[in-house]
Subunit: 586 residues, 2 copies
């Protein structure tokens, strides 16, 4: 239907007749000449209809915003060059204008950014906006670059089922009633974890899949019910093999897709160090602020919150030096306290350092009076406080202090413009194997129950479960966990031991994971892998905060598709076919 793309018409075509298809981006009548900016996926070109060709001129005069057109004409050089667009040196003198489909009045102009609800309701118009085209194409190029890298290295792209078995470990499953098995259900996979391990047992050696995953969780922040991960697994590897290979992969795709050169070797940090310095297992290293442990320094002061937690082996007292933070108003500091409270803080103590040289006389603080001169000096010294700085203090249970001080670090870093430009990747390693779940009174897996412990011996693991370190690792970029993986358990006896420590009895383990335990009995190779969040990496590359900008048809935070109006009620007769009914409301 066309000879060229609108956005690619250039001076090489001057004098030629071309036929183009596209939308009327702009249509206007200026001094008796009609101009149409015709747009396709490659860009825009100017079309001219001159008054001496009356039928063409009349057709052009009738063209409306976003009409779908086919235009034939001759390419000629343009008098007034538009240097901002690729086609800016030429224009098309139309000899035929065909309206393929008239457009009714659009609900918004494409050069505006409408509200979220309008964008998702008329997604087909939102996606026409050049900004959305650019972001979606960044995602497409990311996936292409990943596949190119993986295919060249012998990774086998294998599809795993979407209709699979419910595994109550982890997040909430989506359920699908089985018509042929009354009262039974399939579940949508939270990840292909067990299938990819099975593929290693099956001898595929290196596997990948751009896999759709499903978690029925509250859609806080920027989550989606369904999301896409690059899922990878390697047989006969150590953690360093997986890390080195995938680090090279991520460097390659950043170079190819967005021309960014990441660190030649990503920094490495243990979980313990990341929590100690940044209060986070996914630290944003673009922010140059660090936490300082001050428990020993305040162990004998008169501020009971400090002394209590300093004396508690499970406690933490940490300080954050905010350079030039003394300029913050009382209200701004209160806001930081409120932010910390969201992450579990009972309060946020602070010291404004107006003149570091003057000691107690140079500071203002509600807690200074509880600190003797030596303690105050020690704290100022340990944090490296300078005149004009603000010191923030958190005390409490170790994990809680890490969480809220980490959150405060991020907020104050952003608020005060301390986020450096550029890209800061790192590996976080040596995660704890288990966390103690107070509510359930049992251990839970920090990664997942298939992650290998650093020790090889089940008795050793049982004896030291509380402090056991796993062979898990996360890749972090600018404060986002973009990838997470581990070396897996490959021996049936170790897998059984871990299930047991997680409070999964032998019978339950057999019912839920029997096939895995079986598979590990027939010569399963050592193996490990990783999964990368495609939506998040694409959003980072595209420079957007929201993964919804790199997903063609996302759901709202209330889990709806506003365009198709899903989910929706289903006639009871149809539900009867799959042997379920809607429960009466309480």
């Amino acid at each position: 239907m066309r000879t060229h793309f609108c956005g690619l018409v250039d001076e090489s075509l001057i004098g030629q007749t071309v036929t183009l298809c596209g939308w009327a981006d702009v249509a206007r009548n200026l001094g008796g000449v009609c101009f149409i900016d015709l747009r396709d996926h490659e860009g825009v070109v100017q079309v001219v209809a001159e008054p001496d060709d009356r039928p063409v001129f009349d057709a052009a005069a009738d063209v409306g915003y976003e009409d779908c057109l086919r235009i034939t004409g001759t390419v000629r050089a343009r008098h007034s060059v538009n240097a901002r667009i690729r086609t800016g040196r030429v224009e098309i003198v139309a000899s035929r204008i065909e309206v393929l489909n008239k457009a009714e009045t659009l609900p918004f102009y494409l050069h505006e950014t409408p509200g979220e609800e309008a964008r998702l309701t008329w997604r087909y118009l939102d996606l026409r906006r050049p900004e959305m085209q650019r972001m979606m194409r960044t995602r497409i190029r990311l996936v292409q670059a990943l596949r190119r890298w993986l295919d060249a290295r012998g990774f086998q792209d294998i599809e795993t089922p979407i209709l699979t078995k419910a595994t109550p470990e982890g997040a909430r499953d989506f359920l699908v009633p089985a018509r042929m098995h009354p009262g039974e259900f399939y579940a949508l996979p939270q990840s292909p974890q067990l299938f990819k391990q099975i593929l290693m047992v099956a001898g595929f050696d290196r596997y990948y899949q751009i896999a759709r995953c499903f978690r029925d969780e509250a859609l806080r922040a920027d989550r989606q019910l369904e999301f896409t991960q690059l899922d990878m697994e390697f047989a006969w590897v150590s953690e360093r093999d997986v890390q080195d290979a995938t680090e090279e992969m991520i460097r390659t795709v950043f170079r190819e897709v967005v021309e960014v050169e990441l660190d030649a070797a990503f920094p490495r940090m243990t979980y313990a160090e990341a929590m100690r310095r940044y209060g986070s297992d996914k630290p944003d290293l673009r922010i140059d602020l660090e936490l300082v442990d001050v428990a020993p320094l305040v162990a004998h002061c008169e501020f009971k919150v400090f002394t209590d937690w300093a004396a508690n082996p499970d406690g933490r007292v940490a300080a954050l030096r905010v350079p030039e933070g003394a300029a913050l108003s009382r209200k701004q500091i209160d806001e930081l306290g409120a932010h910390a409270a969201k992450f579990g803080a009972k309060g946020l103590a602070w010291i404004k350092v107006e003149d570091a040289a003057r000691g107690r006389d140079g500071v203002s603080s509600p807690i200074a009076k509880f600190l003797d001169d030596a303690t105050l000096a020690a704290v100022l010294g340990a944090t490296g406080a300078q005149s004009g700085d603000l010191l923030l203090f958190g005390a409490g249970a170790w994990k809680v202090v890490c969480d809220f001080m980490g959150a405060v670090r991020l907020k104050v870093g952003r608020d005060l413009g301390r986020v450096a430009a550029g890209w800061k990747p790192l590996w976080v390693t040596d995660f704890p194997m288990f966390e103690w779940d107070e509510e359930e009174g049992r251990y839970v897996a920090l990664h997942h129950p298939f992650t290998a412990p650093a020790v090889d011996d089940e008795a050793d693991l049982r004896a030291n479960a509380k402090t056991a370190v796993s062979r898990g690792y996360d890749m972090v970029l600018n404060g986002n966990e973009i990838g997470g993986g581990s070396i897996r358990i490959h021996r049936s006896s170790m897998q059984s031991a871990v299930f047991e420590l997680l409070g999964i009895g032998a019978e339950e383990a057999k019912a839920k994971f029997g096939f895995l335990l079986d598979a590990l009995r027939f010569g399963a190779p050592p193996h490990g892998g990783i999964a990368f969040g495609i939506d998040r990496i694409a959003a980072l590359m595209a420079g957007t905060e929201s993964i919804r900008d790199v997903i063609a048809f996302p759901k709202t935070t209330t889990a709806q598709d506003l365009m198709t109006d899903a989910p929706s009620p289903i006639p009871d007769a149809q539900l009867a076919e799959v042997h379920v009914q809607v429960r009466a409301r309480d």
Copy 2:
């Protein structure tokens, strides 16, 4: 963990020390020397443990079938060359044998083909079999080759949702209860049809996706609940653009993946011609048998079944000449009749032509007595019957005769070894727009309700609905419909007219497809596309009858995953979270 792959060790490595990982394919003690065939995904290499290195020899002697091993040793030339394997000129003299994971006794040997149930229960062992590795790798290379072709031509790989809206048109949907919307449900997509059309309206120009699709249908023959299609859509195209491009694509991937050179230009056939000559809209052209219409010839004979249907404008009387078919026994002919009956035949008349030159005296047939000499001669002439042939006759409603005579043609062609070697692709075009559904008393769409009719005008379509031809097309290969597509309706008024003809009222259309009707109002471009069945194409390439051989984790014909034991019952408390309950059995 390893320096080389087992299957790639060759003479270039003689004298070098290598470390290999793999499974003990064979382990045997021959004349005081232990031999281990070590296997990985690349193949097998022979490892030798000699008695003078006692620890290594002892380790080798303990190795069991399918143990997972790491072996270090020196490569040397082999005395007795094994020309059947790539590594057959070398062997490894082991200096270290490490058992990474012992294997318990396997439920079957990997060189055997166990029963279907065993294969699916222990799929990780079934997949280790070299034959399965070969077939799965054929699929993987097919998908790679397709992506390579598509990416090089600017097709945009875009993911569409899996949690989407129920669309009661077509097959039965899988339903997913929505936790955040009590009483409402998502549905799994039967195909990304509407999303890909929306992407054309959104300006993506050319789209593809290797898409998972879901149909909750009876698993007759070789179907799966979930299957994979290459889904494609093009803006601003005619059917010939789509056909020419994808024909070139299929030719390319057959060349690249299995070194098969398909026809330079696929034959083209209308639906009417395919049904007339082959009784099928997906004719297997490898079989050289054709149907012949004999209604005019038998219109005045004394066989009432023939005359009735010959007189009926909706009837058909067709003959199939089976060369050398006179040798078939009465029992074999009865079996053909039984086969025809499965496809709706009331009976299958036949004439054995023992001596074509002798007319009535040269045939044996239960119906010959109802045919006068002239009729019999005309029928023998029209079918080109030779001595030794069998003629089979079907009479009935047109579609029913096509179906059962087409089925008989396939069976007799296969039974008599008349399936030529090689590959016979073709395009089938000019499908009817609608079929009349007697049960529902309304038209149904032969392709789907979004397929454009050949006419541009709604009034024309309304006036001639019964005979209207669509702009749909199928790609057929060796009797399989491997691809199907169409030019779509791109104007809202035509889409509304088609919904109306299908008995979908304005209100219902708005509720179900309102977003599509809306999208067509804002300058939707003319567009069309196609979808190819990846599972089927991979099976054809791999030379297997069953798509289960090219799906890593297929379901059984009773819709179960025998390995993970899905589907399974779900605790009622978990069902309560998503607001459903299992219905009481009737």
